[in-house]
């Protein structure tokens, strides 16, 4: 049997490398459109400053993009290297969006990013703008396909288990593509990326304005970031709410954990603003509650109930008991595929197969299963509440802060008064790290909240790993930490260097602090 240490280390490596990759993705998503806006203005007005803006912000975008590419390959490799059984078990469904992502999105994005940087002298203005737009479309399409894949992990629709091939097989591609969880995730994630890009440009532009340099350049950048950011902040909140709307069972569990709803409340449930969470006794020691709100967000109704954690646990214990039958019938079927009785039993309990597999963490054979063990596995089906609850709250609070910041920035940019509002500029500057915090927390809530599953209800995490040695994992984690630290230092060094130089780093002779040989 697979050791817990191996599973934990595999998870640690995946989480660390995925979250590290996600430091670069949101900025890429947002910056591509900001570049499109800047360059469109350049093409329409012919004013050089807009081309300089596209090139300067493009330079910073490129520094970020390089690490996005570097760290992205890790993720594609890692399903195979570290999650081999997962790759076999769901590759039929999960592999397809990944491959289409490469064919449809990565090629587009990566081919045109080359022309974006090197094609200025060789393309007409309109041609170059088209290149930039295609690059942005490619980037955003890649987010679509990866989130289709991820959405399927949360809500595995359009697929069925085959006992002949011992894996999940796709039955309906369109169901996988138009999965509610996938679509909600896509729009929420790309909006979060747009906010990140906007905060980045707004913060640095504010910094130039605070220091009184490159005013014309910084003001125009600020305006574009404020308008784009305001639209994005609105959509991140509205569409975030859409991801809260629970249609799938995974969402119900996550929602209960991130809202610390231990008991099923009468509809419409209230929303815990803050609470003192007591995981041991499965209750909140105290809570500040807003009536009705959670029920409305979670069910889009005032009369449907949202199940609490205790109810979900009881429900899951029932599914685990049924899953034991499914696993047993499967074992019989594998010995004798023609056994009609086993086939019938398997079909009857097939939907709970994944729940039965949860027990494999504790026992090799279903004959060793006891009621106490089923209780224990049922307890596993609820992720730890406190980290979910607080991560979610910080993310949402930041979401509202973005709304306020961009609301004011947009208002003052319409009235052309932002340059004198030093408090606003300072606020914008110090907000620089916050979208990354919000993005990482959002990622955490989505992925940690799905535990103990890699594919909700289908495949438990501890069965998904490759049968590697623990030593291999220590070795590879050490390697990743080493490489990623060096890369991050290099990236931040260049980012800070060029951000400080500002548009002068283009060497055009039009901006402050030009290098002397320009």
């Amino acid at each position: 049997m697979v050791s817990d240490a191996l599973v934990d280390l595999s998870r640690l490596q995946f989480a660390a490398t995925a979250m590290y990759h996600f430091l670069f993705v949101p900025l890429t998503l947002g910056m591509t459109w900001i570049l499109v806006i800047m360059e469109s203005v350049y093409v329409m007005t012919g004013k050089t400053v807009y081309r300089d803006m596209t090139q300067f912000w493009g330079k910073l975008f490129g520094i970020n993009f390089a690490l996005g590419v570097t760290t992205g390959i890790t993720l594609e490799f890692q399903f195979g290297t570290n999650w081999a059984y997962y790759s076999h078990y769901v590759g039929d469904v999960f592999g397809a969006p990944l491959a289409i992502e490469g064919l449809m999105a990565f090629f587009l994005e990566s081919t045109f990013i080359g022309l974006f940087f090197f094609g200025w002298d060789r393309l007409s203005r309109v041609q170059h703008l088209v290149v930039t737009v295609l690059m942005a479309i490619g980037t955003n399409l890649s987010a679509l396909w990866i989130l289709v894949a991820n959405g399927w992990m949360q809500n595995p629709v359009g697929a069925e288990f085959s006992f002949v091939t011992m894996r999940m097989e796709m039955t309906d591609f369109w169901a996988v593509l138009f999965n509610h969880d996938a679509q909600a995730k896509f729009v929420h994630t790309v909006s979060a990326g747009y906010v990140t890009g906007a905060v980045f440009v707004l913060a640095l532009s504010s910094w130039y304005l605070l220091r009184g340099r490159d005013i014309a350049f910084a003001k125009r950048s600020f305006r574009i970031a404020a308008a784009f950011g305001f639209a994005s902040a609105c959509s991140v909140i509205v569409l975030g709410d859409e991801s809260g709307y629970s249609v799938s069972e995974a969402q119900k569990t996550k929602l209960a954990a991130m809202e610390a709803s231990w008991e099923t409340e009468a509809a419409p449930a209230g929303l815990n603003l803050v609470a003192g969470i007591n995981e041991k006794e499965m209750r909140n020691d105290w809570e500040v509650k807003i009536p009705w709100v959670l029920g409305i967000i979670g069910t889009r109704s005032v009369d449907r109930q949202l199940p609490g954690i205790k109810e979900l646990r009881v429900h899951n214990a029932g599914r685990i008991a049924s899953g034991v039958e499914a696993v047993r019938a499967l074992e019989t079927l594998r010995r004798d595929p023609a056994d009609a009785a086993a086939r019938e039993r398997f079909e009857a309990h097939k939907a709970d197969l994944g729940f039965g597999l949860l027990l494999k963490k504790y026992v090799a054979s279903m004959d060793e299963v006891t009621p106490a063990l089923i209780e224990r596995a049922a307890a596993d089906t609820i992720p730890a509440v406190a980290p979910m609850f607080w991560s979610f709250r910080i993310m949402v609070a930041l979401g509202f802060m973005f709304f306020a910041l961009f609301g004011l920035a947009f208002w003052h940019s319409l009235r052309n008064t932002f340059q004198d509002r030093r408090w606003l500029l300072r606020w914008a500057f110090w907000s620089l790290p916050t979208p990354w915090i919000a993005s990482e927390l959002g990622w955490f809530v989505a992925e940690y909240g799905r535990q103990p599953w890699t594919i909700y209800g289908v495949l438990p995490t501890h069965l998904s790993v490759s049968t590697l040695t623990v030593e291999s994992l220590y070795g590879s984690i050490a390697g990743f930490v080493g490489f990623y630290t060096i890369l991050l230092v290099a990236e931040l060094y260049l980012m800070v260097k060029f951000a400080r130089q500002g548009p002068g780093s283009l060497g055009t002779g039009r901006y402050a602090g030009e290098p002397s040989h320009a």
């Binding site: 594609e76 290297t81 790759s87 590759g91 490469g102 085959s162 390697g479 490489f483 060497g507």
Partner: protein
Amino acid sequence: MLDYETLKIVWWLLVGVLLIGFAVMDGHDMGVGTLLPFVGRDDTERRVVINTVGPHWDGNQVWFITGGGAIFAAWPLVYATAFSGFYWAMLAVLWALFFRPVGFDYRSKIADPRWRSTWDWGLFVGGAVPPLIFGVAFGNLLQGVPFHFDANLVPYYTGSFWALLNPFALLCGVVSSAMITFHGGIYLMHRTEGDIQARARLAVLGAGTVVLVGFTAAGVWLWADVPGYAIGSAIDPAGPANPLAKTVVRAPGAWLANYGRHTWMLLAPVLGYAGVLLGMLLAWRGRTLTAFVASSFGIAGIIATPGVSMFPFVMPSSTHPGSSLTAWDSVSSHLTLGIMFWATLIFMPLVVVYTSWAYRVMAGKVTAAYVREHSHSAY
């Protein structure tokens, strides 16, 4: 929709096409990376070399990513077993690739010579290591790899990393490295002039010779001393994909049996030899563009050779031959293969069209003057 058996063959071909696409496209910039420290003697020369592939390496690398994704989607068991079994080899490829994006994009953003020279060697590692490891991997596939499945189809790899570095596999690694260097050198000749071009020409002639000798040696070795594998039981090519449903025997000479059954398969090694020879000849005569086309065909032939020799095997198991993975039984479902086929049919030609356009836009020689004029924007 195409029937399951046909789709399995189509996907065997498409994986081959993607691997060849990767070797031709990402291969030439990896070859350029391998040659970088040797053909560029000062900073300007090195920047010239880097900028020949500067606008394209990123798009080219997607061949690699898409190849990986396509194997995941079409051959999930191969993806799972090979990537986890070759754990350290895959990590070595991955970590070598880490040097490329930052090497290209960050190198020339700081003037310090130590910084630049560090990343030059980084680009060398990123260009030289992956082809070497892929060659070694092919060498091991031909010999069979120690792995098996349990009844739940959990793959277990029982070999060590060091066992992968056996003499035959290393020879395959040398052929692969030389082939990529050869191809990159021809590209470099096409896009540069003067000293760099002259040095690249020498490299092309040297590497081409190594390819021809190494490819021949590997073929003789394979014939004399590397037993192949053959399916011992009846197998239903249209049946569901479970690799445990067949028996496999190890048989000396089995890897050459396909050529006896299907003589046309000899086209693969012939194309390999002809492409490389012609590439050398044309490069020597300075016909760089046609030389590049020839070397691309040469690469296709060389990669196709182990492919057709092993067909239908993809990854034979040396310890439990019955666990061997073949194009019949390690594949995705009928529906998934069909969807992926259509997706590839639609998007692959588009990719080829816009990639060609990108090369056309950037066509012409990269010169020292270009690098000086664009010192703030070029790599």
